[in-house]
C-alpha cells in the first residue's frame, strides 16, 4: 500500500518532539480521518533553523509530518510557504489515493506554524 519511502519515514520518523519556546506552533486536524498534526518552529533571520512535530494519525500522517520537517529545515519563510501537500506526497514517492485527501496535511500544519510565527512577530 505505502511506498518504501513512506514506510521509512513512518518507522523512523525524523524530528519528532516539541520545541520549547517555539517561535511558531501550528496545528491542523481532521476529525473524520483521525489525524492531528502539530508543528513547532525555530526561526532565525527569516530562516527555519529547526522543526519538530507531533502527530496523531495514520501511517501517511506520520510520514508526511516527518517529511515536511526535513523539507522545511533550512528554508526561508517564503520558501517554506511554497511547500505544498502535493510536494510532500511527491517527495514520499506518492501516497495511496484514499490518503491524499485526508492524511496529507503536513504542509498545512507548517503554514499554520508560520502564520503563528508571523503573528507573534507582528
Amino acid at each position: 500500500m505505502y511506498s518504501d519511502k513512506v514506510m521509512d519515514h513512518f518507522s523512523n520518523p525524523r524530528n519528532v518532539g516539541e520545541i520549547e519556546n517555539a517561535d511558531g506552533v501550528g496545528e491542523v486536524g481532521n476529525a473524520s480521518c483521525g489525524d492531528i498534526m502539530k508543528i513547532f518552529l525555530k526561526v532565525e533571520d527569516n530562516v527555519i533553523k529547526d522543526v519538530k512535530f507531533k502527530t496523531f494519525g495514520c501511517g501517511a500522517a506520520i510520514a508526511t509530518s516527518s517529511m515536511v520537517t526535513e523539507m522545511a529545515i533550512g528554508k526561508t519563510i517564503e520558501e517554506a510557504l511554497e511547500l505544498t501537500n502535493a510536494a510532500v506526497a511527491e517527495a514520499l514517492d506518492g501516497l495511496p489515493a484514499q490518503k491524499l485527501h485526508c492524511s496529507n496535511l503536513a504542509a498545512d500544519a507548517l503554514h499554520e506554524a508560520i502564520r503563528n510565527y508571523k503573528e507573534k512577530q507582528a
Partner: protein, 404 residues
C-alpha cells in the same frame, strides 16, 4: 520474521483437512451436480453430504440449507427476500446499529424503496435492551434481524430471548451468525430463528462459499434468479469444491467446538489480562464480561494513538490484527460499532481487534505482550494528544465529541 495471525474474524486459513477434501473436485470430479451423467453424479452426492454436515452443526434438516457465495449474499437474500415475500403483510424491519454493513447497507437500500427500518441502539458495552426491541414491534413489522455475535467486539447477543420475542409477536427472525457459527454452539431450534447466515471463510473453509438456513415454510423470494439449483432457491452452478470444503469445516468445527473454544478462550484471556496489566489508559470495547463475548475476540482502544499506525507497527513485528480506524475501513468514518457504543471518536480510531484462531499458541500471545507496550508508548510519545498541558482546541474537542 515471526508471523502471528490474530485476525481470524476477518478471515481464516483453510484447514488442511478441508483443502484435502476439496482437491478432488477441481479436476477429477469436476462435473456439474445438475448433470445426469457420470460427471454430474460423481459430485451431486458430495454436495448433499456437505448439506448434511452444515445442517448438523446448526441442528436443522439438510433440506433447510441453501448454499450461497458468502455471508453478504445471505444477508442480502434474507432481507430483500423477506421484504419481497411479505410486503403485503408490512413494511417495517427491526435491526441494530451494530450489524455488519451487509445488513446495514442492505437496510439503507430497502429504505429507499419505502421500507421503514428501526435501528436499535446499544449501550456502552454494546448490548441491546430487549424492552426496546419489544417496544419497536408493530403490526407492520415483518422481520427482526439481530446478529448472533458482533465481528468487532465479539459481543454475543441473546438470540434465544430474541427468538422467543419474535415468536410471541409472530415476526420472522433472521440472524447473521457469520461470526458465531463454529465458535460457539448454534442451534436454530433452540434459538427459534427462521433465517440464519454463515460464511465459510470464517471457519476454515475457503472464501466464496456460505450457507443460509431457511426454516421449512419460510416464504423467501429468491435473490439470485435463474436455474433450478438448490430447489429453485438459489440459481447458479454449484461451487462444488467450496461446498465440500464448507461441509468438512462444519464437521470439524462441530466435533471440536468445546475444546477449541476453551483453548482459544484461555489464550484470549491471557492476552486481555496481559494488555490491561501492561498498558495504562486503555479501554476494553465490548462487554466487560468475557462470557458475553466470543471466546476468540478482544477489542481494545489505546488512548492518544491512531489505529492504523498501531497496526502498521504490529505488522512490522509480524503481528496481524485489525482496527476500527477510518484509515483501514475503506470509509471516512471510524467504526460504526464504536460509534454506536458511544466510544469517543479518538478512542474509536485506536480500537484494535485481536481475533484468535485454532492455530494460535501461548508463545504467540507472549510475543504480542512483549512487543505491544513499547509500540504503544512510542506512538504516544509522538502524539500531540498525549501528556497535553494546554487545553484542547475547538477542533480537537469537536473530534472528541463527534460521536452520536
Amino acid at each position: 520474521m515471526k508471523r502471528i495471525y490474530m485476525d481470524n474474524n476477518a478471515t481464516t486459513a483453510v484447514r488442511a483437512e478441508v483443502l484435502e477434501a476439496m482437491l478432488p473436485f477441481y479436476r477429477e470430479q469436476f462435473g456439474n451436480p445438475s448433470s445426469v451423467h457420470w460427471a454430474g453424479r460423481a459430485v451431486s452426492g458430495a454436495v448433499e453430504k456437505a448439506r448434511e454436515q452444515v445442517a448438523k452443526l446448526i441442528n436443522c434438516s439438510p433440506a433447510e440449507i441453501v448454499f450461497i457465495s458468502c455471508g453478504s449474499e445471505g444477508d442480502n437474500m434474507s432481507l430483500k427476500g423477506t421484504v419481497d415475500a411479505l410486503r403485503d403483510k408490512g413494511d417495517h424491519i427491526i435491526t441494530t446499529t451494530v450489524e455488519h454493513p451487509a445488513i446495514l447497507e442492505t437496510c439503507k437500500s430497502l429504505e429507499k424503496q419505502g421500507i421503514r427500518v428501526t435501528y436499535l441502539p446499544v449501550d456502552h458495552n454494546g448490548m441491546l435492551n430487549l424492552a426496546d426491541l419489544e417496544a419497536a414491534i408493530t403490526d407492520k413489522t415483518i422481520l427482526i434481524s439481530v446478529m448472533w455475535a458482533n465481528n468487532e467486539t465479539g459481543n454475543l447477543y441473546p438470540i434465544e430471548a430474541i427468538g422467543a420475542i419474535a415468536r410471541k409477536y409472530k415476526v420472522r427472525f433472521h440472524t447473521d451468525a457469520v461470526q458465531a457459527v463454529g465458535k460457539v454452539p448454534v442451534d436454530v431450534q433452540k434459538a427459534k430463528v427462521d433465517l440464519l447466515v454463515l460464511s465459510g471463510h470464517k471457519i476454515g473453509a475457503p472464501k466464496g462459499v456460505g450457507a443460509i438456513y431457511i426454516r421449512r415454510g419460510t416464504r423467501l423470494t429468491p435473490f439470485m434468479h435463474g436455474g433450478h439449483q438448490e430447489r429453485n432457491r438459489r440459481a447458479g452452478t454449484h461451487n462444488v469444491a467450496g461446498i465440500v470444503g464448507l461441509g468438512v469445516a462444519c464437521e470439524l468445527a462441530g466435533s471440536h467446538l468445546g475444546e477449541d473454544a476453551a483453548r482459544i478462550r484461555r489464550l484470549r484471556d491471557k492476552l486481555e489480562q496481559g494488555i490491561i496489566g501492561a498498558v495504562s489508559e486503555i479501554k476494553l470495547n465490548g462487554h466487560p464480561d468475557p462470557d458475553l463475548r466470543l471466546p476468540n475476540t478482544l477489542n481494545v482502544s489505546f488512548a492518544y494513538i491512531e489505529g492504523e499506525s498501531l497496526l502498521l507497527n504490529f505488522d512490522m513485528k509480524g503481528i496481524a490484527a485489525s482496527s476500527g480506524s477510518a484509515c483501514t475501513s475503506g470509509s471516512l468514518e471510524p467504526s460504526h460499532v464504536m460509534g454506536a457504543m458511544c466510544v469517543d471518536v479518538v478512542l474509536a480510531h485506536s480500537s484494535t481487534r485481536f481475533s484468535l484462531g485454532i492455530d494460535n499458541t501461548e508463545e504467540e500471545v507472549d510475543y504480542v505482550l512483549e512487543v505491544l507496550p513499547p509500540i504503544v508508548q512510542r506512538l504516544r510519545e509522538m502524539s500531540p494528544l498525549y501528556n497535553r498541558t494546554e487545553p484542547m482546541t475547538c477542533e480537537e474537542c469537536q473530534v472528541i465529541r463527534k460521536v452520536h
